[in-house]
Amino acid sequence: MIQEIEFTLNGEAVTCAVDVRKSLLEMLREDFSLIGMKEGCSVGECGACSVLIDEQAVDSCIYLAVWVDGKSITTIEGITHTDGSLDNVQQAFIDAGAVQCGFCIPGMIISSSQFIKENPQPSRDEIRRALSGNMCRCTGYQKIIDAVELAVETK
């Protein structure tokens, strides 16, 4: 079954006729060619597919596409400023050396951005808790947590 939905995607009003069985991740990757979000598990375990839905970080692989009707979505592509320059969270990930293979990084940046908005002066432990749903096998998370601290400082 196909359903017509309207939503805001990275600041732009869009519509999509989408198969009701599709996940948000599938719709974004297949129908909008937004490939920044990755699929690491497809069952809500790893956080590689994180997006913001109405300013909340969500695993888009276990969120049905049709549920975003009327909502506002930000993907990693929408974190980069419209002039192409990097957001300070992105810059902090680079400067802290938090990027290795990069597969988890879009999800990490999505989760971190929203978290810093909600908690502008977090402790290291609070950062750890906030990112506990995002898995990374390359970094041991240390530089990722450093990056979030750096993003807070450079805000």
Binding site: R21, S33, L34, I35, G36, M37, K38, E39, G40, C41, S42, V43, E45, C46, A48, T75, I76, E77, T80, L86, Q90, Q91, F93, I94, G97, A98, V99, Q100, C101, G102, F103, C104, I105, P106, I109, I127, R128, R129, L131, S132, G133, N134, M135, C136, R137, C138, T139, G140, Y141, Q142, K143, I144, I145
Partner: protein, 768 residues
């Protein structure tokens, strides 16, 4: 080294911006027209034979294009192991599989495949295929598979697929000279790589009628060979392209999906087919770290002298040979590398069983053997009442030791310096004294240490060939082309720094590529054995020196000076006697492209075969708190110290160390695939397979004993895998120091520790 000083600086990874923008394209991110989707039909038993398939219902699923049974595909036997090819037949990997099989050797074996127009249709069809089996007894452990009445898992070969014995001296005599013999049994767990990007590959027939496979592989050139052997075409008919890779850690050093996806495309007239594994498939049905059982003995005198080491190894290979005995058989050399002893015996068997096939995983057998060695070393130190660091210090091999087992002179071997630095920076003595307050009650604290030695690349056991090509671009930048493989570790950036350093230009003048392409890039065996910064480093250095010489020759002619008076510094041609800038590199480059009379573009190529290695080393120090009521081990602090020569890029190197430590902390405390007695994996998902999260790791401290290795291309030695070796045994030793129980099975999960505490309280366990 040079005048440019690019090496040794934390240059920004060239791919970092693309990765934070979500712009980096991994294999699953490329658009293909008319893409078909493949899925593997997996066995639901671990040992037996498929008697029949009923595909009638599956064929009716709309969107199904093809259902493939073993007989439909080439029957060539091959090995998935990503070793360089060898012309010596006895050294070739055991070819014990076909692309699909009726003979089931592991749960989830590839017994068929579906190709459909959508992934959903393929999955639906899979569910409708009915399979009947003849079942055989299932062997989970090597002991079961070695029983007299055990059936052969591979008809043509005994279940003990290889055995070896190395060493020196008279072990029995040396043991007799010891005051104490500490003999223990140890077992390691089945760790899985859990790279965040699952295995994925796309194959299609290209315009030239050859076959292209875009794949998340660590070994593009080797992968090409394996595909060609499996599908039965000559090697040049295959082209492998590797885009950005979401981690590999050795698992993508096996060609697990590539032969099948190429065969699928061949079965569909060359239409592009994608084969993407799910997380559940990737954890359970690809490769793992070998679970190894050790019977390990150390003979020691009261004064701390080690008389002998006697080690018997049984390595659980799982259903197919893959890297096989190369892992279980490897430890002897590295035991000899690190400690003095009069005699050493290292006997090893690698045994087929019906659990998942074990293969390469970061540090390739070293985490296992070092877990065994450092456990028994620690218990020996306890036995004679010596401080565990002092015991290791007094027995360590000196710098310059000649290791007769590998024919390697261990120049610049700094394990002693690592232990000393660790003792100081970790505040070992202070923490040890403080932990004495916590030896009773519910929460008990203790400290542990473990040391290791580590090779760089695979010489003298295997081929070490690498290549590099440099092209001078019109603006004075250089394109660096490599057959080596960036898999997230930062190799591309380190190698670009080396090129910049050797030519004499800023780092930003070197341009890399996310792709490694077997049609275009020079032959290099790929990402494993912590080899690329070393072996490919030599290739880069040679190509850079060649292109530099060509540029200087041209500049000398253009400016009518002798070549030996000019140099390239920071991208300029400098007349050295007075430091005058004669030209920019761009001036030379533009003339090389466009001068009517003398225009000739400048490129350089190198291929090296490196006949040397250098041994790295290091150690971990750990402090834990054990909850006696729950068995939970809390890691309070941990530090790795590494002797890895010159650090090419400190920020990237630190990242390698932290990631490796995290992987080994998981190995020590939580990770491991569990099997039912029928051989079914029980925890192949990210909820039940306990990968460390942000909440599970303490601060990861680390330090380097940095030296300029006299042999390394830029003073460097191995680093990528090394950090994964010693944390787990250091944690085990710390737990023993805390609670007085030496636990010799991994992981030290709450359940495992709790059971040991209970057993001791009931008096079942002999304390060490």
């Amino acid at each position: 080294m040079g005048t440019n000083e690019v090496v040794g600086h934390s240059e920004q990874r060239w791919d970092a911006i693309a990765k934070v923008k979500g712009q980096a394209q991994f294999t699953g991110d490329f658009p293909f027209k008319n893409l078909l989707y493949g899925k593997i039909l997996r066995s639901t038993i671990a040992h037996g034979r498929v008697e029949s398939y009923d595909i009638s219902e599956a064929e009716k699923v709309p969107g199904v294009v093809k259902i493939l049974l073993p007989e439909d595909l080439p029957q060539n036997k091959y090995s998935t192991a990503g070793h360089p090819w060898t012309l010596i037949p006895e050294k070739q990997d055991i070819r014990d599989r076909t692309i699909l099989t009726r003979d089931v050797r592991v749960y989830g074996d590839d017994i068929g495949a579906v190709i459909a127009k959508s992934e959903l249709a393929a999955i639906k069809a899979l569910e409708k295929i009915k399979v009947t089996y003849k079942e055989y007894p299932v062997y989970i452990t090597p002991q079961q598979a070695m029983a007299d009445d055990a059936r052969r898992i591979h008809e043509e070969r005994d279940n003990v697929l290889a055995s070896s014995k190395v060493g020196f001296g008279d072990v029995d005599k040396s043991m007799a000279e010891a005051d104490y013999i500490i003999r223990e049994n140890l077992s390691t767990s089945v760790q899985q790589h859990v790279h965040m990007e699952n295995q994925i590959a796309v194959a299609y027939q290209d315009a030239d009628q050859r076959w292209t496979c875009v794949s998340s592989t660590q070994i593009p050139h080797i992968c090409r060979r394996i595909i060609a052997q499996a599908v039965g075409v000559s090697w040049s008919k295959i082209r492998v392209k590797k885009p950005f890779i979401g981690g590999g850690f050795g698992n993508k050093q096996d060609a697990v999906v590539e032969p099948l996806v190429v065969a699928m495309s061949m079965a569909c007239n060359g239409q592009p087919v994608q084969l993407a594994l799910t997380r559940e498939e990737s954890i359970a049905y690809t490769r793992t770290r070998h679970a190894i059982d050790y019977n390990f003995a150390i003979g020691v005198k009261k004064d701390g002298t080690i008389t002998a080491i006697d080690c018997d190894v049984i390595s659980n290979q799982g259903g197919y040979a893959s890297h096989g005995h190369a892992i279980g058989g490897k430890g002897g050399t590295f035991i000899n590398a690190i400690y003095k002893m009069d005699s050493l015996r290292y006997t090893a068997k690698t045994v087929y069983t019906n659990i998942a096939t074990a293969g390469a995983m970061r540090a390739y057998g070293m985490p296992q053997v070092v877990f065994a060695l450092e456990t028994v070393m620690d218990d020996a130190a306890d036995k004679i009442g010596m401080d565990p660091i002092d015991f290791r210090m007094m027995n360590r091999r000196p710098d310059g030791f000649y290791n007769a087992m590998s024919n390697v002179k261990q120049i610049n071997f700094k394990v002693g310096e690592c232990l000393e630095k660790g003792r100081k920076e970790f505040e070992w003595d202070k923490k040890m004294a403080a932990s004495k307050q916590y030896k009773t009650g519910v929460k008990r604290r203790g400290l542990g240490v473990a040391a290791f030695s580590f090779g760089t690349a695979v010489y003298p056991f295997g081929l070490e060939v690498a290549g590099a090509r440099l092209i001078l671009m019109p603006d004075g930048c250089f394109k660096l082309m490599l057959g080596s493989t960036e898999i997230g570790q930062g190799a591309d950036t380190a190698l670009s720094q080396m090129a910049a350093e050797a030519i004499g230009v800023p780092f930003k003048n070197i341009i890399r590529d996310s792709f490694t392409d077997t049609d275009i890039d020079p032959y290099d065996t790929g990402a494993y054995a912590s080899r690329q910064s070393y072996v490919t480093g030599f290739a880069v250095k040679e190509a850079a020196e060649k292109i530099k010489a060509k540029i200087l020759t041209r500049a000398a002619k253009m400016y009518d000076v002798r070549t030996e008076y000019i140099d390239i510094i920071d991208g300029n041609i400098i007349y050295m006697p007075d430091g005058e800038r004669l030209a920019t590199l761009e001036d030379i480059a533009m003339s090389s492209y466009f001068d009517m009379k003398d225009g000739k573009t400048i490129t350089a190529y190198s291929s090296v075969n490196i006949h040397q290695t250098t041994y790295a080393s290091g150690c971990t120090l750990a402090e834990v708190e054990v909850d006696m009521e729950t068995g939970r081990v809390k890691l309070l602090s941990i530090m790795n110290v590494h002797d890895s020569g010159k650090i090419i890029n400190p920020l990237i190197a630190n990242g390698q160390v932290e990631g490796g430590m995290a992987m080994s902390i998981g190995y020590g405390l939580s990770e491991g695939i569990r099997y039912s007695k029928e051989g079914r994996p029980l925890n192949n998902n990210l909820l039940d397979y306990k990968l460390p999260t942000t909440m599970d790791l303490p601060k990861l401290e680390h330090a380097f004993v940095e030296t300029d290795d006299p042999l390394g291309p830029f003073g460097n030695k191995s680093l990528g895998e090394n950090p994964t070796v010693s944390p787990a045994p250091a944690i085990r030793n710390a737990v023993k120091n805390a609670i007085g129980i030496g636990i010799n099975t991994l992981p030290l999960s709450p359940e495992n520790v709790y059971e040991h505490i209970q057993a001791q309280q009931k008096g079942d366990v002999q304390n060490v």
